[in-house]
């Protein structure tokens, strides 16, 4: 009996030992895989199977919707054209996308195709990534010529093109056509006419413009339009020269003028005095509910602007007019795909992009139908919402400038917003304080 117990004890301790080591192993494995990669969750570089089939991975920012173009339609159409290529697309919301991309780049496990922003815009800006050597030169792609120079320029670093623009986006003033008609107003073509327009509306007891400056980024919507009119036509290389020190934010007749013009709208109460306490979506709601005649916003928010409100009315869209009437649109080529320099299949990745953006392929057609971006060439470019017509004509005529912050190091615009906010918040901040603050921030950021 005792012997039996001893054997049993021995067995038991063996089992215990085994279980303990198993547990340790499982835990260590969990730790190791935690640091490593989950091949199913993200693309992690391409794979090639024995029969020549390859997998190209793509990481994009966006939120997957029903019949999503990126994650569902695109891979299917690519498979039809290139039967040996499987495109695996992962879509992540903006913030998560930046984090994932950074991690993937740092660990050398970047997907083959990634999304980049034009010029210096954001964490995944084409220039900062190209500078760090993460991107493949795409200059020889035929589709680049279709998008035009503005788009190409925005993705160029050191003479080479590193990304493809997905359509364009614009900033402008959405207005309530019914209110304009009721007050016999027409779309203004000069800054003075614009001010008169606001004055007439104010006299009629209508809030001319509503802005939700609590979300300070909306300040950019008005300011960049004025800058497109008043700065770049006089000096197209103003922003490049900021980087070399030839121009400064403090230069007379540049940002001081832009800020002064925009501030005038606050000073005279044309923009709601409560703007600093109002969020962007709340302001949009007020416009939609006919509580204000205008709001500055981007084409990317058209859906919200078109939402049904308390009152039914027709919406219009115009660019804020220039002082001298020579108005430019603040239009930016949107972010788009680029190819990771470490990809194992550069030719295939490039072929996919060339096919996608050729202006006539089924992929391009599906992409333009998707309606997320405003396409400027090829199939579907005639099917954009007519509300954008004025802008698209200006864009094609070359009467358009990119958005200022795309050319600035990220962070300059936040400084501008904070200082402008303190000016309209009555903290005694002057225009000079703002421009010199922007200049200081720029210099600090450039040192990085």
């Amino acid at each position: 009996m005792r012997k039996q117990t001893a054997v049993f004890e021995k067995e038991e301790s063996k089992v215990k030992k085994f279980l303990a080591s198993l547990l340790v192993m499982v835990l260590s494995l969990a730790v190791l895989t935690g640091c490593g990669d989950d091949p199913d969750s993200f693309g992690h570089g391409s794979e090639e199977s024995e029969d020549g089939d390859i997998t190209i991975t793509m990481l994009f920012s966006g939120v997957a919707t029903e019949d999503d173009f990126q994650t569902m339609i695109l891979p299917k159409l690519i498979k039809e054209k290139f039967p040996n290529i499987t495109l695996e697309v992962t879509e992540l919301p903006d913030d998560q996308y930046y984090t994932a991309l950074k991690t993937k780049l740092a660990s050398g496990e970047c997907p083959d195709i990634i999304m980049v922003q034009p010029k210096y815009a954001g964490t995944n800006s084409v220039i900062s990534l190209a500078q760090a050597g993460y991107l493949l030169d795409l200059s020889d792609l035929a589709c680049l010529d279709l998008a035009g120079d503005a788009a190409k320029q925005s993705f160029t670093y050191d003479g080479k093109v590193y990304g493809i623009s997905q359509g364009a986006a614009m900033l402008g003033a959405f207005y309530n056509k019914d209110m304009f008609e009721a007050n016999s107003l027409e779309v203004p073509t000069t800054w003075d006419e614009f001010l008169n327009c606001c004055e007439t509306l104010q006299q009629a007891g209508i809030q001319p413009i509503v802005m939700g400056d609590k979300d300070a980024y909306v300040m950019q919507f008005g300011l960049y339009q004025i800058a497109a009119n008043e700065i770049y036509p006089n000096n197209p290389t103003y922003d490049d020269e900021l980087r070399t020190g030839e121009t400064h934010f403090t230069d007379e007749g540049t940002w001081d003028k832009v800020l002064e013009m925009y501030y005038e709208l606050y000073e005279k109460g044309y923009i709601n005095t409560s703007s600093l306490g109002l969020g962007a979506s709340q302001a949009m709601q007020m416009f939609v509910d006919s509580e204000a005649a205008m709001t500055f916003d981007g084409s990317f928010n058209l859906q919200g602007i078109n939402a049904a409100g308390a009152v039914d009315f027709e919406r219009g869209y115009f660019p804020i007019p220039a002082e001298n009437g020579d108005t430019y649109a603040a239009m930016a080529p949107g972010g788009g795909p680029a190819v990771y320099s470490g990809t194992k299949h550069p030719e295939e990745a490039k072929a996919i992009l060339d096919y996608w953006f050729d202006g006539e392929s089924p992929v391009y057609e599906a992409y333009s139908k998707d309606g997320n971006a405003i396409v400027t060439y090829g199939v579907g470019s005639d099917k954009n919402d007519p509300i954008f017509d004025t802008f698209l004509d200006m864009y094609r005529d070359g009467k358009a400038w990119y958005w200022c912050n795309q050319a600035w190091p990220a962070g300059t615009e936040t400084e501008m917003e904070a200082l402008f906010g303190s000016m309209i918040g009555g903290q005694g901040t002057t225009i000079d304080d703002i421009t010199s603050g922007m200049q200081r921030k720029l210099e600090e950021l450039l040192e990085q």
Partner: protein, 300 residues
Amino acid sequence: MKNKNKKSGMLVMPNRMYIFAVPALLLFSVFWIYPVLQLFYYSFTNFNGINYNYDFVGFKNFARIISEGSLLNSILNTLLYTLIIVVVSNVIGLALAFMLNMGLKGTRFYRTAVYIPALFSAIVVGFIWSYVYMPSSGMVASIVDLFGGEGKWLNLLGNYQTALVSIAAVDIWKNIGTTMIIYLAGLQTVNESYVEAGMIDGCTDWQLIKYIKLPLISTTITINVVLNVIAGLKAFDFSFIMTNGGPGRATNTLMFSIFQMAFNDQMMGKASAFSVVSFAVIVLITIIMLIHMNRKEVEF
């Protein structure tokens, strides 16, 4: 016999059991200790979060955050925020706990009602309160209108003087339930015989609270104050959700500034330096407070 000894030895002194701590320790080191050490390292560089070709810049990051005033502004905002939530939260929390401890009818309902806001995420609460504070048509403005005031001029989040206080009020509203529950638990441990003795000696209600109940729950007070101070010093949620640090920089707290610097301006180096200084400030405040509060605690 020998075998038995060995076995019992293992039970008393489970020396090999240390192995089981390894996975947790490993996780802790990889995801906590190592990044914190890295933070100190990055605070001396101009790392931007993407490009690993960074330079060492010495104490430049530290010099800059001090000279440009962003550090002082954030520290002042954070301290004010902390002061508000510590004082108001504890006073109201304690008052509520006393009331709920009196054995009123429906105590359970009130207790649940006060605690409910603590269950929601800060995002939800912040979003709802943005509408409560909304100028001209928000709930606060409408109530002021109802009583004949000029609600349309009320712009709580858009005003430099009121923005920080307004978001602190939301924080208090959300977390008062937790503070109250801890006080309630403390009050329920107070021995009734002390209170009865006091009553026999002819203490008034106020004297009962001041000389018997409060000293007896001094440990609970310490816990609540410390928890609130920590929450205040770490304040980020409502600045981020409700005001985005604005208007201007009126609601920039330490944590918000760090976030802004690191992920908006992409100045990881500078943000690391800011974190190091914040770390020092928070540790200093916590130590001073703990020493001070421990001295005041009473034990029976």
